[in-house]
Amino acid sequence: MSNKLDFSTILASSVHDMKNSIGMMLFSIDEMLAAEPENKERLGQLHYDVLRVNNYLIQLMVLYKMDMEAYMFNVTEHEIYDFLLEQVARNQSIISSKGIETEIDADDMIIGYFDSSLIGGLVNNIVTNAVRYTDKKLRLSSYEEDGYVVIRIEDDGRGYPEQMLGDVSRFEWGVDFVSGSTGFGLYFSSQVAQAHENDGKTGFVRLENGGALGGGVFSLYLP
C-alpha cells in the first residue's frame, strides 16, 4: 500500500480544519462588533474578508468534487422565503455595519427544489458580493416563471460590466476571466445552476442591469 494520501483527502481534511477556524473568527468578530460598536466599519471589512475566504474554500471544494464526479447531490424541497431570509442572516454583521437596507419579496408558498448547500453557497456568494458593491439597498426576491423558480438578487450599485450581461453559461471561461472573485463566483454559479435538472430543463444564470433598484440584477433560474 502507498503511504501517500490522495489529494481529495488532503483537500477535504484541510478545508474542514480551516473552516473550524473561520467559524471561530466569525464568531469573535460578532462578539467584537457587539462590544466595540465604534469599530464597526473596520470589523465589517474584516468580516467581509473572512466570509470571502470561507466562500472560496467552499467553492473550491465543490468544484473539485464536481469535476471528480464525487459530489453527492441532495435535491430537496425548500421554502424560498425562509431560504432567502437565511442568506441575509448569514451576512447580517456586514449588512448592519454598512447600514444597508434589505428587502425580501417572495410569496410564502413558493417552494424550490435544489441542493441547499450548493445553492446556499451560490446565493451567499452573490449576496456577499452585492453587499460590497451596493450603495444602500439590497433586494432578494423570488417568483415562478415558465416552469422555473427564479431567485433574484438586486442592488443599487453601478451594475455589472456590459460584456457580462446575459446568459452566463455562454461565457468562455479563461484564466483572465475567473481571476477575481466576481468571475470565479460566476463560474461557480453557472456550474451549480447547470447541475440542477428536472423534466428536461436545466438551471441557468442571467445577469442584467436595472431592475427594481437600478443596479446589478443576478437571476438564478431553477427548474
Binding site: N74, V75, A89
Partner: protein
C-alpha cells in the same frame, strides 16, 4: 419567539469546546435557558437516556468516538427521540454526503458550519415552526395512535399547510408503520409523479418490497442509484430483494458495495459475514465478523451472535486451511473470542450455551477430546437454565450430535428433557447478578430507598446498556416512584423510553410476564395523567 425558546430543552454536542460554548451563548441570546453540553457522542446518548430533549444540535465530526450520524441512528434505534424532537445536524461541506448516504435515518435539518447567530436563529425558528405545526400529528404518533395521527395529517392538508410534501411524507411513514403498504405506495407514487425525490423512491421501494413485488422494488432502488451511486441504503435494500428472490450471489455483491461505501456499520458487516459464509467465502466471512466485533467494542449495540459467528467462521477457515500453523492460530482466536463473549454476556445462559458449543467443535477439530467433553457438559448445564421463551431448539440438536461424537451419551437425555419442556428445577434465572450496581439497586428498592435505588439502576444501565434485567428493574423502580411521588412528564417519558427499549430487546412473538405487568401499570398511570 424568545418565550418559546425558554420552554425548550436543548443539548449541544460538539467535540470543540469553544464551539460548544459559542452555540450555547447564541441559544441563550434567543431566550433559551435549559441547555446541556456534551463533547462526545457517547456522553450525548447517555444524557438522552435520562432526559427528553426538544432540540438536539449535534456536530457530525465528533473526533475519535461515534460520529453524529451514529448518534442519530443509535438514538433512533433505542427510541430516545420522540417524534417531536428536532435533531439538527451540524456539518461541514465535506461531511454532509456521508450523512445523506444514510437515507434511512435523516436528521430534521442540517446546518453547515460556519454559521452565525442570525443564521442559527433563522433555521431554528423554521424547524420549530414546522415542528409546532405538526405537533398534533407527532403527539398522537408518539402515543401509538396512528389513525388519529393520520387524521391530523388530513386536517393539515385540508387547511392547505405550506408543508404539503412533509405532510405526505409523514402520512406515508405512518402507513408504513401500520403495515398499510398499498396505501403508502399510492402516496409515494403521487409524490413521484410531480418530482423525482429520493425519499419517495426509497419509500416506494420499501412498500413494494413488503408487498413482495420484488421487480418493482428493484426498479425503485436502481432508480435511486442512478440518481446517486452513493446511496448506501439502496444497495442494502437491493440485497434484501436478492435474498428474498434467493439470489445469494447478487446479495453478496450488493452488500459488498454498501460495505465499501460505509464500512463502519456493525449490522452490515455481520450481514456481509453471513452472506460470505453462505457463498463459501470463509476468508471474507472471517474479516467481516472480525470488523463487526471490533466496531461493537465502543458501541452499546453488542450482538452476541456476531461473536459466535466469528468463531464459527474461524473454525471453518481453519479446517479448510492446509497450513496447520494457520489452523492452530485460528482455533486459538475462536476460543479466545468465546471467552470474551462469556465475559460480556455473562448473564445470558442462552448465549453461553452457544459459546460452549463452539468450544466443543474447536477442541474436537484439534483432537482434544477431553476439553471438548468438558465444554459440552457445561453447555448442557447451561441449556437447562435457559428460559423457555428464548430456547433455541437448534442448539439442542447440535448438543446431541456433539455428545454423540464425544460419547457422552448419558447427557443426551437431559438435553431431550429440556427440548420436551421438562426442567430440573423451576428456579428463575439469576439475571444480571454480576452487576454490583444492579444488586445494590435491588437491595435499596427492597428497603424502600427509591431515590437511591433509581440512581443505582441508572449506573447499572450505564455499565451494562444491554441488560434486559437492569432495564426491567429500572422501569419497575421508576413506576414505584411515580406511584409514591406522583407523575412528572420527565419521569413518565423516562419510563416510556425504558419500556420501549425492553420491548425492542424482547424477541418477537415472545412474551415476558414482568414486562407485560409493568406495561399495564404504565398505561394505567398514563391514562390517569
Amino acid at each position: 419567539m424568545a418565550e418559546s425558546y425558554s420552554r425548550l430543552k436543548f443539548i449541544v454536542v460538539d467535540d470543540f469546546p469553544q464551539f460548544r460554548h459559542a452555540v450555547k451563548n447564541m441559544l441563550e441570546s434567543f431566550g433559551a435557558t435549559d441547555i446541556d453540553l456534551a463533547a462526545r457522542g457517547e456522553d450525548a446518548l447517555r444524557m438522552m437516556r435520562n432526559h427528553q430533549y426538544d432540540v438536539i444540535l449535534c456536530d457530525y465530526n465528533l473526533g475519535t468516538g461515534k460520529n453524529g450520524q451514529q448518534v442519530l441512528e443509535e438514538a433512533s434505534y433505542y427510541r430516545l427521540l420522540s417524534q417531536s424532537t428536532s435533531f439538527m445536524m451540524l456539518t461541514a461541506e465535506t461531511s454532509s454526503e456521508m450523512v445523506l448516504g444514510a437515507l434511512e435515518y435523516q436528521p430534521d435539518d442540517y446546518l453547515t458550519k460556519p454559521f452565525n447567530k442570525e443564521m442559527l436563529k433563522a433555521r431554528l425558528d423554521k424547524v420549530l415552526r414546522r415542528s409546532q405545526e405538526f405537533m398534533p400529528v407527532t403527539l398522537a404518533w408518539d402515543r401509538g395512535h396512528h389513525d388519529d395521527a393520520l387524521a391530523q395529517c388530513e386536517g393539515l392538508l385540508e387547511r392547505k399547510t405550506k408543508y404539503k410534501l412533509h405532510c405526505f411524507k409523514l402520512k406515508a411513514e405512518l402507513l408504513m408503520e401500520m403495515k398499510a403498504y398499498p396505501r403508502a405506495e399510492k402516496i409515494y407514487e403521487q409524490v413521484l409523479k410531480a418530482r423525482k425525490q429520493s425519499w419517495a423512491l426509497m419509500g416506494i421501494g420499501k412498500a413494494c418490497f413488503y408487498q413482495e413485488n420484488y421487480p418493482r422494488a428493484r426498479e425503485a432502488f436502481d432508480a435511486l442509484l442512478s440518481m446517486n451511486r452513493s446511496f448506501v441504503a439502496a444497495y442494502d435494500w437491493l440485497a434484501r430483494v436478492d435474498e428474498a428472490e434467493g439470489n445469494i450471489e447478487s446479495a453478496f455483491d450488493h452488500v459488498k458495495s454498501a460495505t465499501r461505501l460505509s464500512p463502519r456499520v456493525i449490522d452490515r458487516q455481520a450481514w456481509l459475514g453471513r452472506l460470505s459464509t453462505e457463498s463459501g467465502d470463509v476468508q471474507t466471512a472471517v474479516n467481516a465478523f472480525r470488523t463487526a466485533v471490533r466496531l461493537s467494542k465502543n458501541s452499546s449495540l453488542k450482538r452476541p451472535e456476531n461473536y459466535v459467528e466469528l468463531a464459527s467462521a474461524l473454525l471453518q477457515a481453519g479446517n479448510s486451511d492446509a497450513d496447520s500453523s494457520n489452523k492452530t492460530s485460528m482455533v486459538k482466536e475462536a476460543l479466545q473470542t468465546m471467552v470474551d463473549t462469556r465475559r460480556l454476556f455473562n448473564e445470558r445462559p442462552e448465549i453461553k450455551v452457544k459459546t460452549f458449543l463452539v468450544d466443543g467443535d474447536a477442541y474436537l477439530s484439534i483432537g482434544n477430546k477431553d476439553d471438548a467433553k468438558r465444554a459440552l457438559e457445561r453447555a448442557v448445564e447451561l441449556y437447562e437454565t435457559v428460559e423457555e421463551e428464548i430456547l433455541d431448539k437448534d442448539d439442542g440438536s447440535k448438543l446431541i450430535s456433539g455428545l454423540e461424537q464425544t460419547g457422552q451419551l448419558h447427557l443426551v437425555s437431559r438435553v431431550n428433557n429440556v427440548l420436551d419442556g421438562k426442567r430440573p428445577e423451576d428456579e428463575p434465572v439469576d439475571e444480571g447478578a454480576d452487576s454490583e450496581a444492579n444488586e445494590a439497586g435491588v437491595s435499596l428498592y427492597q428497603q424502600g430507598k427509591l431515590e437511591e435505588a433509581l440512581e443505582a439502576f441508572d449506573k447499572a444501565m450505564e455499565l451494562s446498556p444491554n441488560s434486559l434485567a437492569v432495564h426491567l428493574n429500572a422501569a419497575q423502580a421508576n413506576l414505584k416512584f411515580i406511584e409514591v411521588n406522583g407523575a412528572t412528564k420527565e419521569r413518565m417519558d423516562k419510563v416510556r423510553r425504558l419500556l420501549a427499549y425492553i420491548k425492542r430487546t424482547l424477541l418477537k412473538d415472545t412474551s415476558n410476564q414482568r414486562f407485560d405487568k409493568l406495561l399495564r401499570i404504565f398505561e394505567s398511570l398514563y391514562n390517569k395523567g
